[in-house]
Amino acid sequence: MTEAWSYPEALWTVKDMFVYPNEYIYWSVQIVMYPLMTGLVAGAFVLSSLYHVFGLKDLKDMAKFSLVFSFALLLVAPMPLMFHLQQPLRGMEVFFTPHFTSAISAFGIVFFSYSIVVATEIWFVYRKFFVEQALALKGKEGLGNSLKQKLYALLTLGAYDISEKALHKDEKAVKILAGIGIPVACFLHGYAGFIFGSVKANALWMTPLMPVIFIMSAIVSGIALCMLTYIVIMEWKKFRIKTSRKAWDVTAAEVGGAEVDLIRKTSRYLIGFMIAAITLEILDLVFRGYTAVKSWEILRSVIYGKDFVDIFILQYTIGNLLPFIMLVLPGLTIRRTAIALVLVIFGVFMMRWNVVIGGQAFSLSFAGYMHYKLPFIPENIETYKEGFFGALTIGVMPFALFWVINKFIPSLKYHK
């Protein structure tokens, strides 16, 4: 055979002891990013729904922001998959010829229905704003204003009625959509857990708890990222006003940075979901050890041996225990919260890593191991896509998208 061939999986897989010849780390860092991203989507949405559906008033300011941020994250969620597919141009087939016995085939339906729910909810929340902008910009000079006016006019979809009655109806619609959105968001992420949990060939993945664990850790990561982004943006705004010589229409004192009260209240919900997530994970671990079926011997050697640092130090200690203590200690400050939030998100990332990479750390033969070397320097397209910089691209994308979306749909309020 003269054709050129390549096997990039062999570049990042190190085999040890007895491993079947075709076994490699086929699901690498992008498949870690995928559940991380869908998790953040689901979490951000649930955070906004806590206000809209359950009327948790203390989350009012956070709700609008997390809803729009959830939309930015949503657009990024399928991207790791596209990076990962060997045939990315055929990715559309999942929508065209879904094979319904496969968990992945649900992606098209779940993703689109969820996108519709989020987009519609945003539209109802912002309809008044769109109408006001479209009317205010009418007749103003300049190309920018005219383009902006056209965009807002388009975004109103022709619904210019902003009477008291119409707005009341909007609120009702938001409430209903947020209500529908919670199960859909949970399904979006629960099914990501199902993708792993239903693989009977993989001893680490196969557990019915997997979807539930995924949902809980998703909400944890979503809330944490929303809080963190909120803190960073508000503090940055305050800092910019303080240090710039330009005249702003608000003063630094008026902006006031992130509100410690809001942060404290939101962090209570975060702690609640963290407890649920960790409890389920520990239950899973205890159950595996106690029942000790055939696969336990190799799983134990991975969990307590090869992956000990990744699981017990990085994930449980630095990613869970430490931020938990930081958040529950009295006298919570913005800075302490911000550090704890970074650790929480890191912890959830490590959890995804330990599931996806950890699940491939041992051979199907139960007599060998595979070690994953994350490609750092992108020497070719494969080592970029499935390497550190590919993952970084995905990680940065939601913030870039949010920055653009926020230009047209401002979701952060500055107090006056």
Binding site: M1, Y20, N22, L85, Q86, V94, T97, S102, I104, A201
Partner: protein
């Protein structure tokens, strides 16, 4: 309600065009195709591996790679041979360098040199796709690119596979991999292109010792069926409920 003739004709045209579109999406089956799809097949391909006869020469792996155009130097293969040594201290060591393509000529196994006098028993186990009756790889394919034929062989449509790797993850036997050239899921097909023409698979043809045999399990007079019916045979990893159709004679409990 009034409608002008012009509007009526335009609307009619539009509706006709719109309804013709989805109709074209359906495939019209020929009578023969329709019959074939409902009538049960009279063929079910099955395989026997006699581990007593395998000497680990690797001819089957070589033949398979050449026949099925899996790059010869690529680290992946549709079929492979495993070497197992059970040592006198009870330990099991096993290996499959290059899938056993070049045979087993070294005493070094799992980075240790085993002294012949320390070996309690040793044997070779050829592996290939089990063409499961209940194939998990077919179940998990999100686009239906992999499917089971009426005669029981699991195939991959190279023009439709998106390369997600879910089937590779789902197979408990590790028989699937990405084709190093086509970048789609790849697996043993029992040489479907050969067995349909009355030939043997490449590996069966290449085995000098008759360790591999392929046959029709629905034919009671087929030698393979007879062997399975009359001898003590075992399958790999039946605990996964996949109902594998590659039967082993002399399968040791140490085989993974």
């Amino acid at each position: 309600m009034s409608i002008s003739r012009r509007d009526f004709l335009i609307s009619t045209l539009k509706i006709a065009a719109a309804s013709a579109l989805p109709l074209s999406a359906f495939k019209i089956l020929s009578p023969a195709e329709a019959r074939a799809s409902v009538e049960a097949s009279t063929v079910r391909w099955g395989f026997i591996v006699d581990t007593y006869k395998c000497v680990g020469c690797g001819f089957c792996v070589k033949a398979c790679k050449l026949e099925n155009e899996v790059p010869y130097e690529a680290p992946v293969t549709r079929t492979w041979v495993e070497r197992y040594l059970i040592l006198k201290d009870g330990r099991m060591v096993a290996d499959t360098p290059l899938g056993g393509r070049d045979g087993f000529t070294s005493l070094e196994i799992q980075e240790e040199v085993v002294k012949p006098e320390d070996v309690a028993k040793a044997f070779f186990v050829p592996k290939l796709c089990n063409q499961c009756e209940n194939p998990p790889c077919v179940q998990v394919c999100p686009v239906g690119a992999t499917y089971q034929t009426a005669d029981g062989v699991v195939l991959v449509d190279r023009t439709w596979c998106i390369g997600c790797g879910y089937c590779i993850m789902a197979c408990p036997y590790g028989v699937r991999f990405f084709h190093p050239v086509y970048k789609v899921a790849e697996k043993c097909t029992f040489c479907y292109h050969r067995i349909n023409k009355g030939m043997k698979t490449a590996c069966v043809g290449a085995c000098p010792f008759g360790a591999r045999q392929i046959g029709n399990l629905k034919d009671p007079n087929d030698p393979v069926t007879k062997t399975i019916m009359t001898q003590r045979v075992a399958v790999l990893k039946d605990e996964y409920g996949t109902k594998p159709q590659v039967y082993y004679i002399g399968l040791d409990e140490n085989v993974r």
